[in-house]
């Protein structure tokens, strides 16, 4: 795997490169996909199509942002999409009941934060595996979604705070941009900064890499892990806001695959499921890869079942790269 050049041993191996820059591989894949589709379809690179694809990636991309934090601590969240759907239902129902949109929004986000707090506490204080805890929550929340809504979708009738992220479009350098994109970008930047430039971020990586070593070096492991689930919960709450912006209709049957789609984006983005390694920029790219693939293939007229085949194969390829990179180092 070592790149053979004039400098020979001076050059790092590909494996080392991917270890240092986990987002590089996915970014390359994204650029490649873009090139392929722009050559094979006529309208792919038009600005409004690019903006459309970003918009299509918003909800899963936001779910994946929270999922990244959790996976960095070597956890996993199978309940994020059902928690998000619950938040959309609560927001829409409170609003339909006459509560101002702002308060409905805040309460919806707080519910998601509360769920994160409970999950984080169970994972740390009771020492339960995150997979099992969130599997239980996924099951409970899926039922709760249907109970809260008595099986009925709750439309958000008028445009206001709740649908603000999707209802407004303005032109930015000729590109149609929604507030939803702006909010997603800001969130990604904030999380990226927190992970790479603050002590909290270093603790998150340390805990995911080796919890015992982190504890010995004086990091409060439990507190760090709980904080991650709480922050992720808040992000899932904001994902609910994004979802209402995109479709102003809270539907208990929606996003049944959102949990797995968010994990897909994280894995495609080069974040390791073993914890301690990865980046939110990679996740952003991962979420975009899925959308670009779906959109490009559908513009080529490829059956959506083949789109799923391709996405699944990509996931396995991404994990293979991760494995090889680890073995090389």
């Amino acid at each position: 795997m070592t790149a053979v050049t004039a400098q020979g041993r001076q050059r790092e191996s590909l494996g080392e490169f991917f270890l240092r820059a986990p987002a590089a591989g996915p970014a390359l894949a994204l650029v490649l996909a873009m090139i392929v589709f722009s050559l094979s379809t006529s309208r792919f690179l038009e600005l409004d199509n690019l903006s459309l694809m970003v918009n299509q990636a918003l909800v899963v991309g936001t779910l994946a942002l929270g999922q990244t934090l959790i996976i960095l601590t070597a956890g996993i969240d199978l309940s994020n999409a059902s928690a998000m759907v619950l938040a959309t239902l609560i927001m829409a129902k409170l609003f339909a009941g006459g509560m101002p949109g702002v308060f409905a929004l805040i309460i919806g986000v707080l519910v998601a934060v509360g769920i994160g707090l409970v999950i984080g506490s169970l994972v740390t204080k009771v020492k339960l595996p995150p997979f099992i805890v969130t599997l239980g929550f996924f099951t409970m929340l899926t039922a709760a979604d249907k109970l809260v809504a008595s099986g009925q979708a709750v439309p958000v009738a008028e445009h206001g705070v709740l649908t603000w992220l999707g209802s407004q479009r303005y032109l930015f350098g000729g590109i149609p941009v929604t507030y939803g994109m702006t909010v997603a970008l800001v969130m990604y930047l904030v999380v990226w900064y927190s992970l790479t430039r603050t002590a909290w971020g270093k603790h998150v990586y340390a805990v995911g890499d080796n919890a015992e070593a982190a504890r010995l070096s004086g990091i409060k492991v439990n507190r760090t892990v709980i904080s991650v689930y709480v922050v992720a919960g808040m992000i899932f709450g904001i994902a609910a806001w994004q979802a209402l912006g995109r479709i102003p209709n809270a539907d208990p049957n929606a996003f049944q695959l959102g949990n797995l789609q968010s994990i897909t984006a994280v894995v495609l983005g080069g974040t390791s499921l073993f914890g301690g390694r990865g980046s939110v920029l990679g996740t952003m790219v991962g979420a975009l890869i899925v959308t670009v693939l779906q959109s490009g293939l559908s513009q080529l007229g490829v059956d959506s079942l083949y789109q799923d085949l391709a996405t699944g194969a990509l996931v396995i390829a991404a994990v293979t790269v991760d494995r090889l990179a680890r073995r090389k180092s």
Partner: protein, 335 residues
């Protein structure tokens, strides 16, 4: 370090920004319908795994090919996947569809995207499932599900031959319009009201065979003194039949759909009757309308019922029906 991946992103962004001429369209196909144009037809089904929607798609594809229209089929990933359907509508608009035929996953979930498509000059026709309000689309080609339910109810009532019904109802997805219409139509046909003591039990099974079997087993655990079963579709009926068979119960069971497997079930005596609907007709009429719209700019409007008919080998007086032999010639799915 990380800068390198940032650089990659930047490269991608500049690539994207500098290439491709752009027309300000704000996510809308620029379509000019009318005036002898060629139809580009997009079909958005609920899923592409259910044989009913596969039949709908194949029929639409064949009709489009026969009429020389371009045809693209997209689908959601599961029942209730509004997000996937909105994505599909957006992508079809990008591809310059002149007409979008859609079986909405939720009667309200995709209205916003439909509205955007119509404002951009795309004709939108709902197939199989109506939107709420119905005026959200240009026209609807579908089975009148109340009528389909009513026919099942009338048949079961006739087959009970005057016996007081002791009924179990296996419903679909709580809150879905199709489910509500069929349920209410059945009660109307059999002459009962919700909450009537003659209804021994009712459970939603989301149209899924194994769920239906489980729900039926649980209901029979509570009381197996029944003589009639309503099911909202054929997978549900098959699940219910497995539970009844395990207890050796003979009841009058009806269903709705008219898939080939369902017709075979009726022929083999798993249930007494099913009410056939005609997805192929919905697809063909939708394609016809799309072609006409591209040529002349004329749109259909309102609800167009594509009909339904009882399929049974035990015809009952007063209930119009066809034999399973006829059913097998007209069913949809794998023959």
């Amino acid at each position: 370090m990380r800068h390198r991946s940032l650089l990659c992103l930047l490269v991608a962004a500049t690539l994207a920004a500098t290439s491709g001429c752009t027309v300000e369209r704000h996510w809308g196909g620029s379509t000019s319908a009318g005036g002898g144009g060629k139809a580009t037809i997009g079909l958005v089904t609920k899923t592409n795994t259910n044989p009913y929607f596969v039949e709908l798609r194949n029929a639409a594809a064949a009709a489009a090919q026969a009429q020389g229209a371009d045809f693209v089929a997209l689908a959601g990933q599961f029942d209730g996947d509004n997000d996937g359907q909105v994505r599909a509508i957006e992508n079809l608009m990008q591809q310059g569809a002149t007409t979008i035929l859609i079986t909405p996953n939720s009667s309200t979930g995709v209205l916003d995207a439909i509205d955007r498509a119509r404002k951009a000059g795309v004709m939108v026709i709902a197939l199989d499932t109506a939107t709420d309000p119905a005026s959200a689309v240009d026209a609807t080609f579908a089975t009148d599900n109340v009528a389909a339910g009513r026919q099942q109810g009338q048949y079961v009532k006739a087959a009970l031959a005057g016996a007081t019904p002791k009924l179990i109802m296996i419903d679909g997805t709580a809150g879905s319009t199709v489910d509500t219409y069929r349920h209410n139509g059945f009660l109307e046909g059999i002459g009962l009201k919700d909450g009537d003591p003659a209804i021994v039990g009712r459970e939603p099974a989301n149209g899924d065979q194994s769920t239906a079997q489980q729900k039926m087993e649980n209901l029979l655990q509570r009381s197996s003194d029944i003589n009639a079963v309503y099911t909202m579709n054929e997978p549900t009926a098959r699940g219910a039949f497995a539970a009844l068979q395990a207890r050796n119960l003979q009841v009058v069971m009806g269903s709705i759909d008219g898939g080939c497997q369902g017709v075979e079930n009726v022929r083999d005596g798993q249930y007494a009757a099913t009410v056939m609907q005609f997805p192929r007709k919905m697809a063909e009429e939708g394609v016809d309308a799309a072609v006409a719209y591209a040529k002349t700019g004329k749109k259909p409007s309102g609800f167009i019922d594509t009909g339904s008919v009882v399929i049974t080998d035990k015809p009952m007086p007063g209930v119009t029906s066809q034999s399973t032999e006829w059913g097998l010639q007209n069913c949809w799915g794998t023959k």
